[in-house]
Amino acid sequence: MEHEIREQGDVLIAVLSGDIDLEQAPTARKVLLECVGQGKSVLVDLSGVGYIDSSGVASLVEAYQAARKTKSGFALVSVSVGAMRVLELARLNKVFTIHDTIEAGLEAS
């Protein structure tokens, strides 16, 4: 997994790419919790994520819950087909806020 953090005004965009699996989930967790910890709205770009498993999903859930605690924004954007399949299986596609594009995500933030 690779990651890149971009700052756009008041919003942090965390671009994750590659595979978020048992090996990589701890990194994803750390990156996402650090973003949420800054108190800004966070958009997680999953367009480049070819594979995400339950441990990767767990890191998303953890960041989502941390954001709710501090009442800051947290949304997923450009979710790849593979990642969406897993979110749907976990029935989290209705729990997470999901935007089709970064632009839509920024507008809503």
Partner: protein, 143 residues
Amino acid sequence: MPLQNDDAEVIFELTFPACPDRLKLVRTLVLEAARMSGLCDSSSRDLVIAVDEACQNVIRHAYCGDPEGKIILEFARTADSVVLKLRDFAPLADVEKIKPRDLDDIRPGGLGTHFIFELMDEATFTPPLEGDGNLLKMVKRIG
């Protein structure tokens, strides 16, 4: 190579240590084997998810993260299905406890077994026929 049983043909058997960094290898191999066995693309990818989760659970729960643990994955094909057997050599698991969280109780974790049961046509945990450890048999029908 001996036939598995009935008319099952073994495609491969992969032995690997219980390390998280081997999961990518397993996924790559299973995807290719699924395709060559005649599973369509989306079923192949679903199979990969189930196998990944099953291996992950062996690494985390059966071996409790000990990378010395040994895992064997057998991939076989019958006329109308693929049959995967995932074997570990850890202490006997309490099969009653192997179940997902309530999906409405949103929290990190507790999804892997749900994925497995949802994605496979059959998934049964049993002690292996011989020797110690645990055996998860997973079946996915073709077409």
